[in-house]
């Protein structure tokens, strides 16, 4: 990329002191990378010449190259995930059913994430009440705060935030654990002992995530609505009966059910993505680190994308 002439800043020849630009002055030259040569930029700063040089091949071409590499990488990752998903559906119904592994993963993915999901849910509900009160008070609709809090939490924020928190906690764990098993050849060892790694390692993780995420979201929904109620009624002084009535009047069961469907899909997304990156990690400790980061980033982004798609399918008119 650009090479800034650091030495030139110190040793550059004296030049005319800068003066305020006049309208008639031509605009300063913009370095345009040209093939096969260097573009130079020379500026006068506090009486000294400051030079900047840009190597063309390290500029435009690198950007194109990076975009290409990124797209290929994403395509490859998507392909791997597709293969993994196909493999999972093939191995899911096969015996032996590993209930012990499943329970263990439910503990890891679900039980251990409970506290952080509850905390997120609570503060989400509380801040929603605060924010919507602020807005609704401007046109005297404070009584609708309860409706807004409940709808937002049930339909959107409960599932999405729980999905993101579980990605951060359990998705990263899955990717790091499987990645370490991969680079230390433990996954190969399973294979050589006639145990299918997909069946043994991945099926329990994915099933556990799909089962537990909706459960976590139920808890999160409940405590989020409770948090909203506490802030609205106890702190902001909205009438308790009015708040509850308005909530019940406008919120339907389908709002919650659709939120739960979403969260099950999020569980599938985060576990498949995390397992996929962990499963094909390579290159020692650095590789495991990279796999973990990618797992969390891709899971989070895909959860948000899936959220939009599901919302338009489930709630769309």
């Amino acid at each position: 990329m650009g090479v800034w002439g650091g030495d030139d800043i110190l040793r550059g020849p004296p030049c005319a002191p800068s003066r305020p630009a006049r309208r008639a002055d031509p605009p300063p030259p913009i370095p345009v990378p040209t093939r096969g040569g260097w573009a130079r930029l020379s500026l006068c700063h506090r009486g000294l010449t400051v030079r900047a040089e840009f190597a063309p091949e390290g500029y435009a071409i690198v950007i194109v190259e990076q975009i290409g590499r990124l797209s290929l990488g994403m395509l490859e990752a998507a392909g791997e995930m597709g293969v993994l998903l196909f493999d999972l559906t093939r191995w899911l119904p096969r015996r032996p059913w590993r209930f012990r592994s499943l329970l263990r993963q439910i503990e890891v993915v679900g039980v251990n994430s409970t506290f952080v999901v509850l905390l997120t849910g609570l503060f989400t509900g509380m801040v929603l009440a605060l924010q919507s009160y602020n807005g609704f008070a401007r046109f005297g609709a404070e009584s609708l705060v309860g409706t807004v809090v409940a709808l937002s939490v049930l339909r959107e924020l409960g599932p999405v935030l729980a999905g993101l928190m579980v990605t951060a906690r359990a998705g990263s764990l899955m990717a790091a654990e499987l990645g370490t098993m991969r680079v230390t050849e433990q996954i190969d060892a399973l294979y050589t002992m006639a145990v299918n790694p997909t069946h043994y390692l991945l099926v329990p993780r994915v099933v556990a995530a799909v089962i537990t995420l909706p459960m976590l979201v139920i808890l999160s929904d409940f405590i989020g609505i409770l948090g909203g109620y506490l802030v609205a009624v106890k702190l902001l002084g909205i009438n308790s009966t009015l708040y509850i009535n308005k909530t019940i009047q406008f919120v339907e069961f389908s709002d919650m059910a659709n939120g739960l469907i979403k969260s099950a899909v999020f569980g599938l997304v985060l576990s498949v993505v995390s397992c996929s990156f962990g499963f094909r990690a390579k290159g020692g400790a650095a590789g495991v680190g990279r796999a973990t980061t990618q797992a969390v980033v891709y899971s989070s982004v895909l959860i948000l994308v899936a959220d939009y798609i599901l919302t338009s399918l489930l709630f769309g008119r």
Binding site: R90, T184, E185, Q186, D188, A189, Y191, T192, M193, A194, V195, N196, Y200
Partner: protein, 262 residues
């Protein structure tokens, strides 16, 4: 009998194996010898199916097993044992569960029998009484022996060893070599060992296959190999003095009782 036919394998632009042919006799010890980075481990992983060749076939007793996958491959995997270079013990399980894992998963014996079999297997590798330890608590040499026990407890027909003594001190190396021979004699299995340790190769091999530049340059008994004038082979054999002048005795009939390196 295992037969590899015109196996080629490349990783990206790096060609590792080039139309490699190799035959491994049933019930014999075949050592794949060669400099580091010539694809010895890659070759071994092709035999068991951890890697697929870009071209070429792998035959086991005349049956083409190159592309067998999933369920179709499972009965085949019971016939193989694999000892990994870095042991690859399951670090979330203790030694007992590591050894019991294959027995349980493949229902090879009744649950009540498992402790006795694990104990017997640990005794064979002279590590009795460490069932409750975690792999991380063991020394490198002990991990290798547990890895060996984990493979042999399943009583496979064919055992593949990936660099079993790399990175170990000479005394432990001798010890592991004795255990390998003892396991072979107890099970009557076919053994394939990948190593760059000339001395160990000479001690154990019925046949040494020398791998260089992606192909088997020579495959013969240790004594016959010494007579082969191939320059790459001679340079490798004699890099640290003339091994062929004093061929080590073949390790045979190794009963229990060798000193353990606790």
């Amino acid at each position: 009998m295992i037969r590899l036919e015109k196996i080629s394998k490349a990783f990206g632009s790096t060609v590792v194996l080039r139309e490699l042919d190799l035959t491994i006799e049933r019930g014999k010890t075949t050592v794949i010898l060669g400099p580091s980075g010539t694809g010895k481990s890659v070759l071994l992983k092709h035999i068991i199916g951890l890697l697929q060749p870009d071209a070429g076939r792998v035959y086991l007793d005349g049956e083409d097993i190159t592309n067998l996958r999933g369920r179709a491959r499972e009965p085949l995997m019971h016939r193989f044992g694999f000892v990994f270079q870095h042991s690859a013990l399951f670090d979330s399980m203790n030694v007992f569960d590591n050894l019991a894992f294959g027995l349980r998963e493949n229902h090879l014996c009744a649950t009540a029998e498992i402790p006795a079999r694990v104990a017997r297997e640990l005794q064979r590798v002279e590590l009795s009484g460490i069932e409750e330890k975690m792999p991380a608590e063991l020394s490198g040499g002990m991990q290798k022996r547990v890895g060996l026990a984990r493979a042999t407890i399943l009583e496979p027909e064919i055992i593949l060893y990936d660099e079993p003594t790399t990175g170990l001190d000479p005394q432990t190396t001798v010890h592991i070599n004795r255990l390998i021979v003892r396991a072979k004699e107890a099970l009557g299995s076919t053994v394939v060992i990948v190593t760059h340790d000339v001395q160990s190769a000479m001690e154990m091999a019925d046949t040494i296959a020398f791998l260089a530049d992606g192909g088997i340059v020579a495959a013969a008994s240790p004594a016959a190999l010494c007579g082969n004038p191939e320059p790459r082979l001679q340079a490798f054999l004699n890099a640290r003095g003339d091994v062929c002048a004093h061929l080590p005795h073949k390790l045979e009939h190794v009963g229990p009782g060798a000193p353990a390196d606790r």
